[in-house]
């Protein structure tokens, strides 16, 4: 019995140490829930309930600029030139270096998910009323509006720019070439998907849902490759008392590594989970956040940023 306890202790210690080594930066400055995070070249962008969009140096973690949205920020999308934010029932777009938004556009519901096309020309917005809105980033003009069958809480472009996925309870994938075509429904989640991410080769799509699962989909035929659930941590002894934690909690975020070797999910269990994209096997869990994780984003260098209701953004080295 003592030997088992010792092995468990050693394993826990090793896991904690691994997590500490994996974590490289903790970005503090937001007040309240940090709802979103994105990489923009050498910068990390975060937004939250405090009505600010903050820009950080991705290497040093230094705060660079704070943009005032003056209302709750639910989602972000960024590239090397622009930052777009979902702010209540509108979208704001800034050029890097500018303190005033270049344009603002209304959407029919809460702007809960944003994605920029790889060429930076189009901004996709999924809103809570179940609408997908597409905007030209250059002018803010609305290009198209599409109704989403199962609500709108998640949206993603594939890295090759050929696919767009969006949805809530149900996920729709379209071919994208400046307009949407060949829609295909992905059915399986029992509650809202809060995040979508394509693999770099666009053969896989991962969806994170508050139904307590993440799903790995085959983009070509729309089938589920794996339904991912996390079973840990289960029981911990804290302060001399046994405390039981729910084994499955809402999954709110997902991201694919730029080289496609791994993908990450995270949510209410406060851990970042890393998975094998071929088999859907669980590789490891990174602990550090003290509240639910709300969003994940990989940088080009393979580092992973996570935003949380604990008011921080953490940056992880995942290989």
């Amino acid at each position: 019995m003592k030997r088992v306890a010792l092995i468990v202790l050693l394993l826990l210690t090793a896991r904690t140490r691994a997590a500490e080594e994996a974590q490289t930066l903790v970005l503090r400055g937001h007040r309240g829930v940090v709802s979103s995070v994105a990489y923009a070249g050498e910068r990390i962008v975060s937004g939250g309930a405090d009505g600010t969009v903050r820009i950080w140096n991705a290497t040093t973690g230094d705060a660079m600029t704070t943009l005032r949205a003056n209302a709750e920020v639910y989602a972000l999308a960024a590239d090397a030139r622009t930052i777009a934010a979902g702010v209540e029932r509108r979208v704001m777009l800034w050029d890097f270096g500018a303190s005033r938004a270049r344009w603002t556009a209304d959407v029919p519901g809460y702007a809960n998910a944003l994605a920029l096309s790889p060429d930076g020309a189009t901004l996709a917005v999924a809103s809570s009323d179940g609408t997908l809105s597409l905007f030209a980033t250059s002018t803010g003009a609305r290009i198209a509006t599409q109704s989403l069958e199962g609500g709108g809480n998640a949206v993603a472009f594939s890295r090759d720019g050929k696919w767009l996925a969006a949805g809530g309870y149900e996920i729709t994938i379209w071919r994208w070439n400046g307009s949407l075509s060949e829609p295909r429904m992905l059915k399986g989640h029992r509650d809202n998907a809060f995040a979508l991410a394509f693999s770099p080769d666009a053969t896989r799509l991962v969806s994170a849902s508050v139904d307590r699962t993440a799903r790995l989909w085959n983009v070509a035929d729309g089938t589920t490759i794996a339904t991912l659930t996390t079973k840990e941590p289960a029981h911990l002894k804290i302060g001399g008392k046994d405390r039981s934690f729910p084994q499955q909690l809402a999954v709110t975020s997902a991201a694919f590594a730029p080289d496609g070797s791994i993908f990450a999910t995270a949510g209410a269990d406060r851990a970042v989970h890393l998975w094998d994209p071929t088999t859907g096997a669980h590789r490891t869990a990174l602990q550090g956040h003290t509240r639910a994780i709300t969003a994940l984003a990989f940088g080009a260098d393979g580092r992973l940023a996570s935003s949380s209701a604990d008011g921080t953004v953490r940056v992880w080295r995942v290989r």
Binding site: V33, A49, G267, A309
Partner: protein
Amino acid sequence: MDLDERLVRLEQTCRQLRRRANASIACAALLVIGGITIAAKPTNAIDEDAVLRVRGVIITDANGVERVRIGAPLPDPMAFGRRAERLGTLSGILLSDANGTERSGYVTSDELGEVFFTLDASPRQQALFLANAEGGANLSLWDNDGNAAQLAAVRQPILELRKAGKAVVTLPAAEEGAK
């Protein structure tokens, strides 16, 4: 000391006394005005009879996360940093967890006039205790696996138990209820 000198001294003393009397009156006047001003000014003391009349009160925790809100109306529900659309307008009290996700409400509905109390998992409703404006009430319980229990009194008593989405107990039975 001759008479003239004594008169001069007396006059000096009189002038001094008059100046002191004027100064004393001025000080007394200042004290009275100051006292009145202080008495009229609001203080930090709690007025137990005061009524706070506002549309909403928000209580946040040490991390700045909204945990309690009293409002008329209440905002749309928040879960993990995103908002969803609420069906109808509600007023009352909301409780949110440490993630800022709405977990409970004790509210009235503007449109239907119901009053209800909800307890939610993160983020789905698990318990509802509701009274209709026109009479009748029900208690509903759910889990995440399609299990549910409902006890209602709306024109007749109703009990329904569902296991994995399928009704296993329905009272009164369907035919009985139809009579």
